[in-house]
């Protein structure tokens, strides 16, 4: 069963200065997939299409949901509940502590609630990622590795089917890169997730059997 199925996907930014084209790509459920290619080839744009942040032409089916058929509001609601997003450089909200940063997606959807159960889930995720002692710390008091793990916990708080990670190893030395990918791999296996990683790092690419080379595709 495919978690992701792309058919004749095309996307162009207004003005047509850049165009992305993916004739076909499928990722089986529970797999680790990698999108790679040189800078500017459209890796992050494809991640935007998979997360429903952007809409192009063609068919984008994620978690059995045809995204092009959804309204903007429905796509946002689907994204917040079904997709965990890990952004490049792991941005966190500076004035919220670690636990509140993890709970942030629940505060952004009127149908989700920050209740006791949600807090217990957040604490369990933080404990699982060795951050149990950091729940009340502010992002400014965290190391890069700790921020990364908080970003992973935030991506998992809504219990998503899919995690999209944009350059999660950018700027890391090989040892830290491997540790980060090991962690992502462990999360994938323990939570039964489909994970799509955007990277231009060959070592990360080599970890996956489901690759999409946008450099070759374009």
């Amino acid at each position: 069963m495919s978690a992701i199925a792309l058919r004749d996907v095309r996307f162009a930014w207004p003005g047509g200065q850049f165009a992305l084209s993916v004739p076909e790509w499928e990722v089986p459920s529970g797999a680790l997939a990698v999108v790679h290619g040189p800078s500017g080839c459209g890796k992050s744009t494809l991640l935007g299409l998979l997360g429903g942040e952007l809409v192009g032409q063609g068919s984008v089916v994620v978690d059995d949901q045809a995204l092009q058929e959804l309204s903007d509001a429905a796509r946002r609601a689907w994204r917040i509940r079904r997709v965990g997003l890990v952004f490049q450089d792991f941005p966190l909200v500076g004035h919220l502590d670690v636990e509140e940063n993890v709970l942030l997606p629940l505060r952004l959807d009127p149908r989700l609630r920050v209740d006791r159960e949600a807090r217990e889930r957040a604490r369990a995720l933080l404990a699982d990622l060795d951050l149990a002692a950091f729940t009340r710390r502010r992002p400014a008091q965290l190391s890069q590795g700790e921020r990364q793990r908080v970003a992973f916990a935030r991506a998992l708080i809504t219990g998503p089917a899919l995690v999209l990670a944009d350059e999660p190893t950018a700027g890391l030395d090989p040892e830290r890169r491997d540790r980060a990918m090991d962690l992502l791999e462990r999360i994938r296996q323990e939570h039964g997730l489909t994970v799509v990683v955007v990277t231009h790092d060959p070592a990360v690419v080599a970890r996956s059997a489901h690759q999409l080379d946008l450099g070759a595709a374009s």
């Binding site: 917040i80 997709v83 909200v93 004035h95 509140e100 942030l104 952004l108 959807d109 009127p110």
Partner: protein, 379 residues
């Protein structure tokens, strides 16, 4: 959604305490100052008008009507060039209605001493909170406000202030007995000592008491010299010896307050005194109205000034809020990318604005209230 927007807005505001404080204080002043000027002018207007409206006609010597009204009604200084008792006698004889003298020339411990008649208390609606009204020479009753401030109670002795050290004919300081404290009336009467006209004359030195003089060998002549001991206390032991030298109708009463019995009597008073160049009959409401006209113009001017200040403060606050939004741009982008709807993001930002405005409004209200309490106390 509102709870979450509130949580995020409060968290952001708490993380920038200096900015939040400056913004709130700035907006509070911008909102509070024009409101205070409006309210203060209104309170001043009410206080002045209430007294003026309740004092239909004031008689006095020809002269500055503003001085006469301010001194005789609001006790803002002595009544200069005071009218004699003959004016009071003439008004009483004409039977216009209730006629009361207002003698404002002295003070005791810095508190104005007003010599008047017993009708004054009923005409002004003044009641006694403790003790009784003055009935005998040397007895006084103290206004509720000043009695509370100074801790004056019935039984206390107040010494009048010396009016002029270099005037040998002026009365010396006299001890006055407090026999009552008035209930606070919210008027200038709260801040004065009220006594009889005769006691006021004793303070003038026109009535005085001294030890018995010796008669010279049955000739009918008495021996009087500067060595005669003048009493400095007006009480039961000295009261009987106080007496008047000279003509009563020449003694000063300051001004005469007339409460005409009806409209016709009102017009007759004005008519009688409009043709006599020695006197003036003043309608305090018109005099105070003229003063208020100046106050209201000043208020409009100040309101316009503060409105400009409020406008510039609001613009500055908007700039600070927009700069705050810029600082929060990465955070807002993050929330949008996670999946927040534009309405949710707008609610977070709007909640922040509403919180700051709400806090500023509460603070402005407190500032206006405190200012008005201070103003009322000083009025």
């Amino acid at each position: 959604m509102i709870r979450d927007a509130l949580f995020l807005a409060v968290s952001w505001l708490r993380s920038t305490p200096l900015r939040t404080t400056v913004l709130t204080l700035g907006l509070a002043l911008a909102l509070g100052l024009p409101a205070f000027v409006q309210q203060a002018a209104g309170a001043l207007e009410d206080a002045l008008l209430e007294r003026a409206v309740s004092s239909p006609i004031l008689l006095g010597r020809e002269g500055n009507e503003y001085d006469l009204v301010m001194n005789a009604l609001y006790f803002r200084g002595r009544v200069r060039n005071p009218a004699p008792a003959a004016l009071l006698d003439r008004a009483v004889a004409a039977d216009y209605g209730v006629t009361v003298p207002v003698h404002v020339q002295h003070s005791a411990h810095g508190i104005p001493v007003v010599g008047t008649g017993p009708e004054y208390f009923a005409a002004r609606g003044l009641t006694v909170a403790a003790g009784r009204l003055p009935g005998l020479l040397g007895e006084v009753v103290v206004g509720g406000g000043v009695a509370g401030e100074r801790g004056i109670v019935p039984g206390d002795l107040l010494r009048s202030d010396l009016t002029d050290l270099y005037d040998l004919s002026a009365g010396g300081a006299l001890g006055l007995e407090v026999v009552g404290v008035l209930a606070a009336a919210g008027s200038p009467d709260d801040a004065v000592i009220l006594t009889s006209l005769e006691t006021a004359w004793a303070l003038d030195g026109a009535l005085h008491g001294h030890v018995a003089v010796t008669e010279d060998g049955g000739s009918g002549l008495v021996e009087a010299s500067p060595g005669i001991f003048l009493f400095e206390q007006l009480d039961a032991s000295t009261r009987a010896s106080f007496h008047l030298h000279g003509r009563r109708d020449e003694l000063p009463v300051g001004a005469v307050l007339v409460f005409p019995r009806d409209r016709a009597a009102h017009d007759i008073v004005l008519g009688d005194f409009s043709v006599d160049p020695a006197w003036q009959a003043v309608r305090p409401r018109l005099v105070v109205g003229a003063i208020l006209d100046i106050v209201l113009r000043l208020r409009d001017l100040m309101t316009a000034g503060f409105a400009l200040l409020a406008g510039s403060t609001a613009a500055l606050s908007a700039v600070i809020l927009l700069l705050g939004l810029r600082l929060r741009a990465p955070e807002i982008t993050l929330m949008r990318r996670i999946g927040a709807a534009p309405g949710t993001l707008a609610a977070v930002v709007a909640t922040e604005v509403v919180l700051v405005l709400g806090a500023a409004a509460v603070l402005a209200l407190a500032l206006v209230r405190a200012g008005l309490v201070f103003l009322e106390a000083s009025l």
